[in-house]
């Protein structure tokens, strides 16, 4: 599989009234062609800032302190590689945004321009980037609307956003994102603002498109249910760093970081017959302005070691695909196992899968 995106040591901070917020503190990520990467984390963990940096959307008070985002793609039958952080805003607009990397935002109710018809919003990018004639762009727009499952596409072209339901709007946003056949689709919590029944449909739609076009997808979400459903590779972020990353099997069946344990334990499970109380991770994410010394998660971590309060743990490699940043993985650390309830739950999930298969 070809690697399409390589993020190394990405560091972004911004100035807030309280001081400098270090939103992203050294993130390494890889994305392969056709793969689905999910970035999981609580709000403020830096996941949105990370992907917006890929799009070149950096607000005026943000500073990219360092790192690289290498993007590889085929252009005229040749592989080219570019560092997106070195491109100007103008170059990003011209060569990357929309045509190579596109994005779907969280709230479909507000992410469409209320004063422009759906059709025009769809055609706009194609006319600009692909230099299509209006008629051609229109034909392709209708095709796209049909692709994302909007009935009476031709009629809908003339509609304004407020005339469509939330689910329909998100389909339109997806159609807009796909309009210039990008290689990477970034979905920033694409279903959180939607009704539960529609959520699944939108996810299925994205998966179907992925099957048809072989596009790579990055999901940002805090919903592990979504992750389990769609992702190939998962990165769990906490306080601007990656706490654990691995394939979906690694993360769900063999989690190593106490934060991942917490997240998995706090996931509601309908098949779980035990009447245990749903677990919640104690405390709340730290203020990113004055981070404590050591691991920012330590104060909320029941398995914290003294070491966690002294220094931030490095990334330990567990397998070819699996990494976690926890001192528990150091050879000097005492053996600490995941909580029993989580272990039982994983076992029952595995068992269920075996009987299914």
């Amino acid at each position: 599989m070809e690697k399409t995106l390589t993020i190394r040591d990405l560091r972004i901070s911004f100035q807030a009234s309280g001081g400098t917020v270090r939103a992203v503190r050294g993130v390494d990520l890889d994305l392969y062609q056709g793969e689905t990467l999910a970035i999981v984390g609580e709000s403020g963990s830096g996941k949105s800032v990370t992907v917006k940096a890929i799009m070149g959307i950096v607000s005026s008070n943000q500073i990219v302190e360092g790192g690289t985002i290498l993007y590889r793609c085929r252009e005229k039958d040749e592989w080219t590689e570019r560092d997106l952080l070195r491109l100007s805003r103008r170059e990003m607009r011209r060569h990357i945004n929309g045509t190579h990397i596109a994005m779907v935002f969280q709230d479909p109710m507000t992410s469409l321009d209320p004063t422009m018809t759906i059709g025009m919003q769809l055609m706009e990018g194609m006319i600009q980037h692909l230099h299509l004639s209006r008629a051609l762009a229109r034909r392709r727009a209708i095709e796209l609307l049909e692709l994302v499952g909007i009935p009476e596409a031709e009629k809908r072209m003339r509609n304004y956003p407020h005339q469509l339901s939330g689910g329909m709007r998100q389909r339109v946003v997806i159609a807009i994102a796909l309009s210039c056949s990008p290689d990477i689709l970034i979905c920033d919590e694409p279903t959180t603002a939607l009704d539960v029944t529609i959520q699944a449909k939108i996810l299925e739609l994205i998966q179907e498109i992925q099957r048809k076009t072989g596009i790579s997808v990055i999901y940002i979400t805090h919903d592990l249910g979504v992750v389990a459903k769609v992702a190939d590779y998962v990165a769990v972020m906490y306080a601007g760093r990656i706490a654990e990353k691995g394939t979906v099997e690694d993360i769900f069946y063999d989690p190593r970081h106490p934060y991942t344990w917490g997240l998995l334990s706090s996931m509601p499970d309908i098949s779980d017959e035990s009447s245990e109380r749903l677990y919640t991770i104690p405390g709340s994410p730290p203020s990113m302005v004055d981070l404590p010394a050591g691991d920012p998660f330590a104060p909320r971590n029941a398995y914290a070691l003294e070491a966690d309060f002294k220094a931030e743990p490095p990334m330990f490699q567990i397998s070819q695909t699996h990494f976690a940043a926890s001192w528990l993985l150091d050879e000097r650390a005492p053996k600490v196992a995941m909580p029993d309830s989580l272990r039982r739950r994983i076992e029952s999930m595995r068992g269920g899968e075996r009987t299914d298969g």
Partner: protein
């Protein structure tokens, strides 16, 4: 980036023991700022707003102390001291308040010290005197009182008429709201100037008629804001909760709704004040102000304007006080709006 080895050396072997005596997972409660404290903090940080507040306090103090300080009263005429330029005794050589009168003849200034010519160097008229020899300082500050009175009236009208109208209309809704809103709609379609002018034409010019005019026109903005906020709040959980608990309408309005829209109400009041002051000054200017010998800033400006090219100081001081007053109330209103609700849109 550090290598794994460098990382590993950051901690010692003995650190690999479960952390002891740490307050685990206790939610850190950030010192909760109360709404009012928060608002006060934002207000104080706003330089414009603080300037406005200081100016208003200063103007209020002068409005009450000024006439006494001058040693004159606003209506005593002295025909021997007409149209005297600003002068403070002993400041003859100072750049301002020196008593020098400058006349422009074909653009050429001709300067002369009227006070020395008349031999009255010991007389002080800080803002000069008008055509009837009345002290402008006393008149300006007496006139300011009228503006302040109008400001007070505006606040009262806003709270009593505007707020109750909006509360009732918003809270009860239905047919009553429909009816009340049509009244507002029609009233706001008639230009204020027209209403006020007609009213004063019918009634005698004076403070009473100005008050009545303000009463008809100045409450509409407030009633709109109150209504919109009430509509928003009455569906909120805490209001629904007290309603299901059987609290009566009166106490729901006063205990649940009112405290929550108080910020907006204060802001709206502050916005009405400059409007009201301006209305009074405007009426005075077109000859519908309070009758002489009483003065208001508007009537002083109107009178002074007639001889502006000869005696610009007669206009200068009342206009400056009026402009400062309007500016200060505007700045303060803006500051309060930002303080109470940084997101409240400009109105």
């Amino acid at each position: 980036m550090m290598t794994a080895k460098e990382y590993a050396s950051l901690v010692e072997r003995e650190d690999f023991v479960p952390a002891q005596n740490r307050d685990l997972g206790i939610d850190k409660v950030y010192s909760a700022q109360s709404f009012w404290k928060d608002a006060l903090g934002r207000f104080v940080k706003n330089r414009g707003a603080v300037f406005g507040l200081v100016m208003i306090v200063l103007i209020v103090v002068m409005a009450f102390a000024g006439p006494t300080l001058s040693g004159y009263d606003y209506r005593t005429q002295d025909m021997s001291q007409r149209n005297l330029p600003p002068h403070i005794a002993g400041w003859e050589s100072a750049p301002i308040f020196s008593g020098v009168y400058t006349q422009y003849v074909n653009g050429e200034p001709i300067r002369s010290n009227v006070y020395t010519q008349k031999g009255i160097e010991d007389v002080t008229h800080i803002f000069g005197t008008d055509a009837l020899g009345r002290d402008q300082f006393a008149r300006t500050w007496t006139g300011t009182r009228v503006s302040l009175y109008v400001a007070l009236v505006a606040i009262l009208i806003d709270t009593f008429v505007g707020m109750s109208f909006g509360l009732v209309s918003g809270y009860y809704g239905g047919k009553l709201d429909f009816f009340l809103q049509r009244i507002v709609e029609i009233l706001s379609t008639i230009p204020t100037t027209v209403i006020v002018t007609l009213l004063i034409v019918v009634m005698k010019p004076g403070l009473t008629s100005i008050t009545v005019a303000l009463m008809i026109t100045e409450w509409i903005g407030m009633s709109r804001v109150t209504r919109a906020q009430t509509l928003r709040l009455k569906e909120r959980e805490f209001v629904l909760a007290s309603r299901t608990l059987g609290e009566n309408t009166f106490s729901i309005i006063f205990r649940e709704i009112l405290p929550n829209i108080f910020g907006q109400i204060i802001v709206m009041c502050m916005m009405t004040i400059p409007n009201a002051i301006f209305t009074e000054a405007f009426l005075a200017f077109i000859g519908l102000g309070i009758p002489a010998p009483l003065a208001s800033l508007g009537s002083l400006i109107s009178d002074g304007f007639k001889s502006m090219t000869m005696y610009p100081f007669l206009v200068l001081f009342p206009v400056t006080v009026l402009a400062l007053l309007m500016l200060s109330f505007n700045l303060m209103a803006d500051g309060l709006r930002d303080a109470f609700d940084p997101k409240m849109k400009e109105m």
